[in-house]
């Protein structure tokens, strides 16, 4: 070997070592830098950036807690148990078989992705939920979550959350599901194969849903019994229904209003509806881009809505929707819905029977871009003449508010305060933040309605408390009840007692 060759070898070796060092350094250091930002700082940054571009985050200099690293073969839950508020649980690539439950505040659960290697929570179709949290200030990021029977990520009354950059496939109930929450950001997630809604914002306020891709689900994105929500820059395709906003009857919170659906691609949502038969979501007609049911003050602006075979947008009241029975405490009509400028193309080419009947009545062969069925007042459409519409008799042509550009986000400028809770309210909180995710009083969401459970367990709250700790499957055509054994025995009894006392007025009798 001559001198020159030795020199080049040394140079190559040094370069390789340096590259290796830099690579190793990057892999170890990069993730903690991301992780070090607190959730509330991230939310503030999202707000500052107008939410849409929120990943360009700001550092606020808040002191972050320590980083606890979890490697393949270790349990994430052990790291969560060891974590203190402010800490980050950093999950390295590998496959994890567990349910993670976070019941403390200000924890970040952040995966580290190396090339194609994700930290993966695999439910193997055996486990119910992947990540549950009841703390405030929770961040869940960079996880791949597959094959759970229940929810991928469910928040239970956790305020100020960020759920970001997760890749979720095949869940039996919901994909990303904040329930009874205030102030939260759901962005840059991919979800597919979810048997109800991929992203389900339930009974929440001030939520921002942006830059997500949802396909191959029964419902893509659903905003239900929630207020001040923006759904923007998402891609919803090949679901049975693309983007939905509802008032579902029989839930503890009775309203949905101030929802903006803008700048989304809502394309070819023609997937077969594979929701559980008899459930509300099974009543979503396949081929529908956007559905507004009973929600008020909804603005639909600047979306591309095309190739949805049933209809581009359906605006419906409770009466006109399958599997819905009335809730006397909820207004059944969609009021003040504004359809501003959107691009519609090739919708309604294969509509359901009910819409066909409307077409016959309107003497048209063209399926609708926009169809309104049932009651509702104060609704308007900006460019009525440009659209194929049905049932818009009472709708104004032209809207008072023609743009939502003045509303960057409904996220709060300060973190929402945690809920103040008296001991006697614990049952109510758990009912609202956990049970009501699947059990409505008088209709079938995921589980049997609360009033039927009341009939089965009359005078026997302990029976519910025992059952929910370790449920067995009782109903072939319902998803299995997730175990709630992480709740203490007295909490389970408190919520069972509360559930047996929930009531709702009966709807007025119809004329015979």
């Amino acid at each position: 070997m001559n001198k020159k060759a030795i020199v080049s070898l040394v140079v190559v070796a040094v370069l390789a070592a340096a590259a290796g060092y830099l690579y190793a350094r990057r892999s170890v250091v990069a993730a903690p830098q991301v992780a070090a930002q607190s959730t509330s700082a991230g939310l503030a940054a999202a707000r500052g950036a107008g939410a849409g571009g929120s990943t360009a985050s700001l550092e606020t200099g808040r002191p972050a807690g320590k980083i606890i690293t979890v490697k393949a073969g270790e349990a994430i839950q052990s790291a969560v148990a060891a974590a203190q508020p402010g800490d980050t649980v950093q999950v390295l690539p590998g496959t994890y078989h567990e349910t993670v439950y976070i019941d403390k505040d200000d924890i970040a659960l952040v995966g580290v992705i190396h090339g194609a290697d994700w930290p993966t929570l695999d439910g193997e179709r055996k486990r119910n939920d992947a990540v549950l949290y009841s703390g405030n200030g929770i961040r869940v990021e960079n996880l791949k979550i597959v094959n759970f029977k229940g929810n991928a990520i469910m928040g239970q009354a956790g305020n100020n959350f960020i759920i970001r950059h997760n890749w979720i496939a095949n869940a039996g109930v919901y994909g990303i599901f904040p329930e009874f929450a205030q102030n939260g950001l759901i962005e840059h997630n991919i979800l597919t194969g979810i048997e109800d809604a991929a992203i389900y914002v339930g009974m929440s306020d001030n939520i921002h849903v942006a830059h997500n891709e949802v396909y191959g689900n029964v419902a893509g994105i659903e905003v239900e019994n929630s207020r001040h929500v923006i759904v923007e820059h998402n891609l919803a395709y090949d679901n049975a229904g693309g983007i939905l906003t509802f008032i579902t009857p029989g839930l503890p919170i009775k309203t949905t209003f101030d929802v903006i659906i803008r700048d989304n691609f809502v394309v070819a949502n023609n997937h077969k509806n594979f929701g559980a038969p008899g459930s509300i979501v099974s009543g979503v007609p396949s081929g529908t881009g956007v559905i507004v049911m009973a929600a008020d003050d909804v603005i639909i602006e600047n979306n591309v809505i095309r190739d949805n075979k049933n209809a581009g947008i359906i605006v419906a009241d409770h009466k006109s929707f399958a599997n819905i029975t009335p809730d006397p405490e909820a207004d059944p009509n969609p009021d003040r819905v504004s359809v501003l400028w959107n691009l519609f193309a090739n919708n309604g080419y294969e509509p359901i029977t009910e819409i066909k009947a409307l077409m016959v009545a309107a003497l048209t062969r063209e399926g609708p871009d926009l169809v309104a069925v049932g009651g509702g007042t104060g609704n308007c459409v900006l460019d009525k003449g440009a659209l194929k519409t049905l049932g818009l008799g009472s709708w104004a042509s032209g809207c008072a508010k023609t743009s939502t550009a003045d509303i960057a986000t409904y996220l709060l400028d300060k973190p929402a305060p945690p809920r103040v809770l008296k001991a006697e309210d614990r049952g109510k909180l758990i009912y609202s933040s956990v049970c009501a995710g699947c059990h409505a009083y008088n209709v079938r969401m995921i589980g049997p309605p609360t009033q039927v459970i009341q009939a089965m367990y009359a005078g026997n709250p302990q029976g519910i408390a025992d059952y929910i700790a370790n449920p067995t499957k009782k109903r072939e055509d319902f998803p299995p009840m997730p175990p709630q054994g992480h709740l203490s025995a007295d909490l389970r009894l408190a919520v069972a007692t509360y559930m047996l006392g929930v009531s709702q007025p009966k709807p007025p009798a119809a004329a015979n």
């Binding site: 559980a276 819905i324 029975t325 209709v443 079938r444 049997p448 009782k474 709807p507």
Partner: protein, 213 residues
Amino acid sequence: MRRSRLARYRLVLAIGMVACAGLFASAASPADGKSQYAACIPCHGARGEGVAATGAPNIAGSAAWYVDRQLKDFASGARGREPGDRFGATMAAAVAAVGSDKDRAAVAAYVAALPPVPAPAAGAPTDNGRNYFNAICSACHAASGRGNETLGAPRLAGVAPAYLARQLAAFESGRRGAQIGDRLGAQMRAVAAMLPDARTEQDVIAYAASLKP
């Protein structure tokens, strides 16, 4: 060796006894129930298709566990003994003729094995009927209306609407399901009260009757 031969006899005898016990303990076969079913034919029909004039529902293909439970309830007086329940009284008298638990199980197995005969349509099913059926009844009777053994809920799909209407009214009035200790009856009574009005009851029944049994 006498001892071993005796042991062998004993063994054979024991095996024989176990085998016989096994036979008796095994589920009643439909064939055993055929002769017993003759007592049911005047009201329920030879095919279990039901006879509208007698008020007897179409029971063909009903789950054996459900038929067996009802026969027991009629026999014990848990069902059909309220004053004024003339259909119940008829059933109670008929069931008295069936006799043993084993006979009842055999009849139930026979009925379960009969091919279902759907009831004549009770008018076109309505959205209201579907909505309430799915919202309330499907929790136990399944959205298909095929029932749920774990929950003790019978099939409703394709069952004669006049019979369903009478039972719903009986649960509401307490003619059925109101006896102390009747847990399933109490549940059904509470759930029947959730239907808001007479029209909805008719709609739900028409919808159930329209489902494929």
